[in-house]
């Protein structure tokens, strides 16, 4: 084989560039939870990302063999601490559908309120992490300062801050009194104003926009084909939101899915910002329409059959598949979490990006490894 210099070309130009593999995670300052990526880079460009998860798989699905279907609500609630309330009612919804349990309307509204509070605090948590990833420390602290106010409402109405323990099959365990509702509405007004202040920075500040605009563009077609869910999908222009199915009190509330068309990291950030205000509006609507009455019904018997319940968690659609055979213990409990559905898209986005953009791209899917490794 002739040497390159024999062709009159400088050897340094035509030599293949060296590739380097950079291990990223599972413990890394920008990663909230353990996920590992082997990043194959040429110079500063990522050309391949090899993921590795499964460091903390908890096997919660297997626990249905030991816990009866009523006790299992406590396990379902602990699948994710950031989606907080939503896993509980999603599980209950599946059991209630199998057993034809008439959940009181007031319980539906209370579930909706706590679910939307969970979405607000989850999105504020994500905004803080994103600010941290782009090096905007004060914005990170402001985001979490506002989130703290949401957690205070949750604590005042449920007694918990992350795990609420308020949902049960057939309804909810706690009510929210008229005084607490008035206080919540007053607190929401302050939270809305504070959120408006910080989201203005996320959406208008040039230093943040420089890190997000045009980074990790996911087309509408790719987002759908790759099975994306939640803000990841809606930021690419697909108006899909499981709340449109009308579960809980959503059938009585007015809302439209928030969509963007850019499909980049900025669009995903903007979609989450807008969803905070949408959730505040939904809580106001729900508290304005909440009916009086019972908050739970007595449940007897055991479930039998199969059902898949789908709800909208902060990160997107979650699917709870339940298979029961008329005994106390379910035959199968299967959860497809939103992060699991968004991981393939993340792997498609990373090749071609700058190494410095990897933290931003990983964070824009809002990864929750806790629920992925349920």
């Amino acid at each position: 084989m002739p040497a390159l210099r024999d062709w009159g070309m400088p050897a340094l130009v035509t030599l293949p560039m060296s590739r380097t593999i950079i291990p990223f995670g599972p413990q890394h300052p920008v990663l909230p939870e353990p996920v590992h990526l082997d990043l194959v880079v040429e110079d500063e460009k990522v050309i391949e990302a090899r993921p590795s998860i499964g460091f903390v798989h908890r096997g919660l699905e297997k626990l249905v063999e030991k816990k009866d279907y009523v006790e299992f609500v406590y396990i379902a609630e602990r699948i994710c601490g950031i989606c907080s309330f939503i896993p509980g009612p999603t599980y209950c919804q599946a059991i209630e559908a199998l057993m034809n349990i008439p959940v009181p309307p007031r319980a539906h509204y209370l579930r909706t309120v706590w679910g939307e509070l969970s979405r607000i605090h989850s999105h504020l948590l994500w905004l803080g992490l994103m600010a941290d990833a782009v090096g905007f420390e004060s914005l990170f602290m402001h985001s979490w300062r506002v989130r703290e106010k949401v957690l205070n409402i949750i604590e005042a109405t449920t007694g918990g801050r992350v795990i609420f323990g308020s949902c049960k099959i057939g309804g909810v365990r706690r009510d929210i009194g008229a005084d607490a509702i008035r206080q919540m509405l007053a607190d929401l007004k302050k939270i809305e104003q504070d959120t408006r202040d910080i989201t203005r920075v996320f959406l208008d500040d040039s230093s943040v926009k420089d890190r997000l605009c045009g980074v990790g563009v996911l087309s509408r077609q790719d987002a759908y084909e790759l099975g994306c869910v939640g803000p990841m999908l809606r930021a690419s222009g697909v108006a899909q939101d499981m709340r449109q199915l009308g579960y809980a009190a959503f059938k009585d509330l007015d809302f439209e899915p928030i969509t963007r068309t850019e499909g980049d990291s900025y669009a995903r950030c903007a979609a989450r910002c807008q969803e905070i205000f949408q959730s505040i509006d939904l809580i106001r609507q729900a508290l304005g329409k909440i009916p009086d009455g019972e908050i739970a019904v007595k449940v007897t018997g055991n479930p039998n059959g199969e059902f898949m319940a789908r709800t909208e968690q902060p990160r997107g659609e979650v699917a709870y598949c339940i298979k029961a055979n008329g005994t106390k213990n379910l035959q199968r409990f299967r959860v497809r979490t939103p992060t699991f559905a968004n991981l393939p898209a993340m792997l498609k986005l990373l090749p071609g990006c700058d190494l410095a953009d990897v933290p931003v791209l990983v964070l824009t899917i809002d990864p929750c490894i806790s629920c992925t490794e349920r």
Partner: protein, 151 residues
Amino acid sequence: MTPISQEQTLELIPVDKLLERVQAMHQQGYRLVQISATRLPDKLELTYSFALEGRVAQLRLHLVDDVPCVPSISSIYWCAFLYENEIHDLFNLAVEGMAVDFKGTLYKTAVKYPFGSTKPPVAKAGTATATSAASTPAPVPPPPSATANTR
């Protein structure tokens, strides 16, 4: 808001019809929601869930062999590789032709194939083999010596 109407269907199909039916789903515009496995006493049940707006269509396979094997659908739905690797690592189900094959390393569980049996999983000392963990209980590792970790 007028809710989207919901409908769930379930269809039992033979393994050799899987790719054909999944291709038909793809052409109709369905997206892949999830793939799940259920270990029953006499068989392994595999469910592929697809959704289009409020409609959920599920395809089901019943696998009765001791070491079952199914074709991967990741050539049709690329994102399926993650579900298929998960099912392999948790249920000891071989999936042929995955777009990305982690070769059993997606999940680093203390028990190999923890959902591979209807019996409770038993922790094994050292590395478990592919076939023994699902069928036979592993020997219980001896307790640490009394002198170990005393300081």
